[in-house]
Symmetry: D2
Subunit: 384 residues, 4 copies
C-alpha cells in the first residue's frame, strides 16, 4: 500500500494538538509525514522537523512556502494532504491556499475565525473538489458512531430531548499567561472562548448523534474568571428542527473536571447515553425493558462501529484512536478517489466542511444570544 | 420514650406516597400512627385504617372531622402531628386548619397550589407557632447533607456553577388514564406538571446544597406528549444571588430514566457531585489533587451526615431512610420543644415553610418564563 | 391487620445488630415489639426497653425468664416471635428453649456455635414445627432474588463458575479492645472469626444464587493482625455438586473496604454480577449480545424481586430494606399458617434452619481445611 | 531523531497481535518497520509486507533468513530490533538466534515453551548483552505504574493481601476450530492454556504492582469446555515472600466477560484498585479517610505515570497506548545505550527476561499444582 504523503502547518515545539495529529496520522499507517511548516521561527520549525526525522529541505517556515514548493515537486513525491493545526485565526488562509493548489486538507476546529470565512471556504472547496476534513474528535469514537446508527435506525423512535455537556476545569484560574494564551485572545481565537473551543464539539456531537439540526437557541454566556477576555462558561437551550428540545452545557471553569464530554438523547422508546470517561460503552435505556450496554468491539455493533475499532472488546480504545479514526476514514476516502473506487459508506463518516459551517453558525449565534435580551435567536442562516 | 402520636390525611388504598410516609414515620420509632382520614370514601378509609391496625373510632373521612374530633381528646391521647399526603389542591386547607388547631404538620411538596397560598400559610404558622415540615426527600440523604456542609465550610471556595437535573421517563407515554391522573390535571396539580412534581425537588436541592438563592431564571417549558395538559419537560437557566449561574433540567419524558436526581456544584477550588443512583457517595473533585469520595457512614463525615445515618459504611441507606430522616429530625425538634430543651442543630436541618414558599415562587416564575419571550425573569418576590 | 407480637433477646445499649433487627421488624408493620431480655444487666435491659416504649413488666434479664413468663400469658397477648440477636455462643440455648415452648424464632447468623448444635436445633424444630428464620441479609435484596430466579429459569445455562467475595477493612488494626470484642473471642464466636462472621454470608449467597451446593473446598485461612485469636482473612477454592468450581474470598483486613459483598456467576450462555455497593442493579452479560442491567422496581423483574420491593425504580432500597424483607417474608409465612392459608411462594423465600446447618458445615470444614496440608476436604456431611 | 529499524517475525495475514505490535511500535515514532518474516508462506509474507509498504527484498519467509540477511547489511541500514509475535512454540529459537546475532528482541508472552527454555534464553542474553523486552501489556498502563509507585513509596504500609483476576469469556464455547487454534494446542501453546495466555499476565501484574514475589501456590485448574486439550479456567491461592497472601483468578469461560483484568492490593493503611475497563483511574481507599481517585494525566501523579502519558487528563488512553509504552521505553533504553547516555529510570521500567522467567516458573508450578493433591507447592526455583 502506498501511504499518503502528509504535510503539516503548525505543530511546532510545545504544541499539544500538533503531536496528537501526528500520532493519529501514524496510527493506521495511511500517512507518511514528509514535510511541514511547524513554526514561523526557522529554528523551531527545524527543531520539530528534525525530531520527526524529516528531510531538512522540506522543513518550511510559512504555509505559503510549503504550498508553493511542494506544488512544484513531482506527482509521486509531493505532499498530498496538509494538516493545519494552527490557532483559529490561521485556519482560513492556509486552508484556502491549500485547496486552491490541489491539496486535501485536515483542519482543526473551529473551522475558521468567522462564519463568513467558513462560507467562503465552502465556495472554494466547491470549485476545487479537493477534500476537507475537520477534526471533531468525539465523533470518531466507535460508540458515538453506534449511538448515531441506533438513532438513525429508529430504535429510539422520534427524538424528543438532547442533553449534551462538556465540562472542563482547566481555566478555573487565570492560567492565560502560562498556557491558554491564544485561546483566550480574541484576535487569535475569534469571538468565542469556551463556546468555540469546546461548545462547538458539544454542538457537533449533538447534531451528529441525534441526526437533527438546531434551529433556535437561547444562551447564557459568562466570563467567570476576572479579566479574561473571552467566555469561559456557557449554557444553551436548544430547539431542533423536528420539534425536540435540548440543553448544551460547556464550561472551562468546572474546577476538578477533566474533559468529560457526555451526550444523552431520548426518544419515544428509550434513551441513550455516552460519555468520554467510559468511551467504550454506549448505554441504551429502554422504556420497559432492562437497559443494554453496547461495547466497542461487540460483534453485535454496527458496521460503522466495527470499522472504527482495532482491538477486541475489553481492551479500551481511547482518544487517540478516536482521533485516528478521522484520519483513517479521510485517507480511505482519498484513496478510493485515487483508485476511482467507490468509498465505503463507513469511510465517508468523518466531519467535513458542512460541520465546520454549522459550528461557525453556532458560535456566532450563541455569542449573540449571550448578549441579547431576546429569548430565542434563530441559528444564523447558512446558504449552501 | 414517648412516641409522637401521628395522624394522616390522605394515603388511602393505592396511594404510593402515603405508604412511603408511613414507613418513614415508623423507621426510627419516633411516631405512632393513631388515626387518619385516608380517603373521602368511608369504605376506603376504613380499609386502610384497619389494615394499619387503627382503632376504628379514629378512622375518619374528612380532614375536618379528624381535626375537630382529635382536638377534643385528652392531651395525652390526641394526635400531635398530622401528615398531609393528598394531591396538591388539598394541601392548603388541611394544613391551615391543622396549624390553627394546635397540630404540627408534615406536608408533601409542592407546599400549596399557589404562591399566594404558600404566603398565607406562612402567616398562619407565624401566629400559631406550630411547626411545619415539607418532605423534600433528597435533602434527607446523608451525602446531600455532607455536600451542603462542605460548601458551607468553604471547602470549594466561592461557588460559580450549579447543575441540577431530575430526569424521569414514566410519563413518556400517555399513562394519565391509568396512573398519573391528578399529577397532569391542572385543577389538582396547579399550574405546573413536571416543574411542580420534580422541578421543585431539583430547585430545592440546588439552593440547599449551594447555600445560594436563585434570583433570575429563563425557562424552556414543554408539553411533549400529545394532549397532556401540563408540562412534562423543562430546562431552566439560573442566576444566583452571588453571581453564580446554573442549569436545572427536569423531565418526565426521558424514556428509560428512573429517578436519577443529580447535582453538581463547582467553586473556585473544586466541584462536588451527588446522584441518587449512588446515593451513599459524594464525590469531590479538586482542582489539582486526586478526587475524593465521601461515603455514608465514613468516620470523617460531618455531624450532619452522621446524625442521619443508621448503618455502618458500605451497607447502603436508600430513599426510605432519606425520607425517614426528615421525619426523624422533625420529631427531634418537636420533642426538644416539648421538653423545653434546645434542639440539636442537626435536628433543625429539615425542609420547612420557607423552602415551600421558595418552591412556589419557582413554580410560578418558571411557568411564566416558559410563556415569555423575555429572556430573564426575576424570581417572584416573596415578602416574609 | 393484627401485628405479630415480637420479643427480643439481646440488643441492649450499644448493640448495632439489635437496632437493625428492630428497624427491620418495624419497616412493614408486621410486628409489634412487646417484650425483651435486652441484657443480663437489669439496668441496661430496662434502659433499652423503656427507650423502646415497652411496658416495664415485659422487660426481662434472661431469655429463660422471657420465655417462661411470656408462655404463661393469654394467647392473644403473649409474644409470638422471638428475635435472638446475641453473640454466637448464646444462640443455641435460647433458640432451643423458644422453639420447645411454642415460639417462632428469628436468629442471627451464624446459627450456632458448632455444627453439632445446628443439627440438634434442626431435630428440635422438626419436633415442634415452629418456624425459624436466619438473617442472612444479602439474600433479602430484590436483585439477589432476581439473580437466583434468572439462574433457576435456566437463562445462563449450566453454571460453571462462581466468584463470591466479602471484603471488609474494619479489623485492619487491633480494634478488639474497643469494638470487635466477642467477634474475635473463640469462647463467644466459635472456632471462626471472619469465616463465621462474613464468610458464611458469602457462602450462603453463593449457594442461594447459584442453586448449587458446595461439595469440596480448599482454604487458605489467616490471622493477619498480630495477637488476634481468630482468623481475620481467608480465601477458599470451591467445588460444587454439578461440577462447577468457585472462589470465595472473605477478609476483614482489606483496609479501606466497607462491606462490598459481591457475587458473580457464569453459565454457558452468560454471566451475572451483583454487589452491595450498587445493590439495586443486577448485570447480566451475555455471550454475544449487549449486557443488560436489571433494576429494582423494573416491571420486567420476577415476582420474587417485585414482592420484595417498596419503592419505584430509581429510588434506592438498601440494607435495611433487605433485612426487612426477611422479617416480612417470615411474617407472611407465619400469618399464612395462622390463617390456614397457603403461603405465597415468594413469602417462603427466606433463609432458614437448613441454610444455618450448611453455614455451620462450611465453618467447620473451612477451618479444618485451613489447618490441613491435604488439598481438598469434603464439606462435612450433614444428616438431616 | 533517527528511528530504530524494526523487523518482525510472525504477524502475517489475520494475526491480531502482529497488528497490535505494529501500531504500538508506530505510535511514538521511535521505530520504522523495514523488514519481516511475517509467514512461512511466501505469498502471505509478501501480502503483509507489501501492505505495510516494505521493500520486497526485505520480506522473508523464515526467521533464519531474516536474521542472516539482515546481519549482512551495513550498520546504518540493517534491522536493529526484532519483534517476535509468533505462537509460543516459536519464541525460543528466533529469540535465541536474534540475540546471538546482535539484535535486540521484543517478545510476546509467555516468553518460551518451558522454564528450561526461559533459563537458557537468560544465559544467552547474559552473554550477548543485547536487550529483550517482553510485552506484558498491562504494566504499560500509567495507572498501573502509579499503583506500583504508591506501594513502593510505602503509602499503603506493609502489603497483606493481593487479589488479581483476568476473566474472559471468549472460550466459553468450542471455538477452537475457528479461532483459538494454537492457543488450545499443547504442541504450540505449551503445557498451559488459560494459565499461559492470561494467567501469566495476572501473575506478572500482581508481582509488578505489589513489589512482592510469589513463593508458594495452590491451584485449581480446570478444563471446562468438553474436548478442549488445555486448561481454560483456574484459580490460585498465593503466598508471597513477605508473608502476604493472595488469590489469582484467570478464566476464559466466564461467558460475557471481555478482558477485565483487575488488581487489588491491600496494605496496613489502605488498599488500591485498578481495572482495565476503567484503565485511567487508580482508586486508593484509605483506612479512615475518603478514598482518592488518581487519574492518568493528573499533575499529582508520579514521574513514571507521567512519562507514559500522551494526552491531557480526561482524554482516555487505552490498550494500544499501554502497549506502545512498552515499545517506547524499550526504544529509549536502546537509544540511551547507543548514545552512551544513562537511560532514565522511567525508561527502564518495562518487562524483561526476568519477568519472563518468573512467568514460566508460574506456568509450570501452577499446572503441577492443579494435578497435585498436595496443598501448597513452592514456586519452581529459578537459578539466575
Amino acid at each position: 500500500m502506498k501511504k499518503l504523503r502528509l504535510g503539516m502547518i503548525g505543530g511546532g515545539p510545545g504544541s499539544f494538538i500538533g503531536a496528537i495529529h501526528r500520532i493519529a496520522a501514524r496510527m493506521d499507517n495511511y500517512y507518511e509525514l514528509v514535510g511541514g511548516a511547524f513554526s514561523s521561527s526557522i529554528e523551531k520549525s527545524l527543531e520539530t522537523g528534525k525530531e520527526l526525522g524529516l528531510d531538512e529541505s522540506r522543513i518550511y517556515t510559512t504555509f505559503q512556502e510549503l504550498i508553493v514548493k511542494e506544488k512544484q515537486k513531482p506527482e509521486n513525491e509531493k505532499i498530498q494532504v496538509i494538516a493545519i493545526v494552527t490557532p483559529n485565526h490561521l485556519h482560513f488562509e492556509p486552508a484556502k491556499m491549500a485547496l486552491e493548489n490541489g491539496f486535501h486538507v485536515v483542519l482543526d476546529k473551529p473551522m475558521t475565525l468567522s462564519l463568513a470565512e467558513a462560507l467562503a471556504l465552502k465556495e472554494i472547496q466547491n470549485k476545487t473538489r479537493n477534500l476537507l476534513c475537520l477534526t471533531h474528535t468525539y465523533t470518531g469514537y466507535p460508540m458515538v458512531k453506534e449511538a448515531k446508527q441506533q438513532i438513525a435506525a429508529g430504535k429510539l423512535g422520534k427524538i424528543r430531548k438532547v442533553y449534551v455537556e462538556y465540562p472542563q476545569g482547566w481555566l478555573s484560574t487565570a492560567v492565560e499567561s502560562k498556557q491558554a494564551d491564544w485561546r483566550t485572545d480574541p484576535s487569535k481565537s475569534g469571538i468565542a472562548g469556551a463556546m468555540g473551543d469546546i461548545g462547538t464539539h458539544a454542538f457537533n456531537l449533538a447534531e451528529y448523534v441525534s441526526g437533527l439540526a438546531v434551529q433556535k437557541l437561547c444562551a447564557d454566556i459568562n466570563i467567570v474568571v476576572e479579566n479574561r477576555r473571552l467566555d469561559d462558561d456557557g449554557a444553551v437551550l436548544l430547539k431542533f428542527d423536528n420539534g425536540a428540545s435540548g440543553v448544551l452545557m460547556a464550561t472551562q471553569i468546572a474546577a476538578g473536571e477533566e474533559n468529560n464530554v457526555k451526550i444523552r438523547v431520548y426518544g419515544e422508546k428509550g434513551g441513550l447515553e455516552w460519555q468520554q470517561v467510559d468511551a467504550n460503552t454506549l448505554t441504551i435505556k429502554w422504556l420497559d425493558e432492562p437497559a443494554q450496554t453496547f461495547r466497542t468491539g461487540g460483534g453485535y455493533t454496527s458496521s460503522f462501529a466495527q470499522h472504527n475499532t482495532r482491538t477486541p472488546s475489553g481492551h479500551p480504545e481511547g482518544y487517540l484512536e478516536a482521533f485516528a479514526n478521522i484520519y483513517k476514514n479521510f485517507a480511505e476516502h482519498i484513496l478510493a478517489i485515487q483508485n476511482q473506487a467507490k468509498p465505503k459508506k463507513e469511510s465517508l463518516d468523518y466531519p467535513s466542511i458542512e460541520e465546520g459551517i454549522r459550528g461557525m453558525a453556532f458560535i456566532e449565534t450563541v455569542i449573540a444570544s449571550g448578549k441579547s435580551s431576546q429569548k430565542w435567536l434563530d441559528l444564523l442562516k447558512v446558504e449552501g
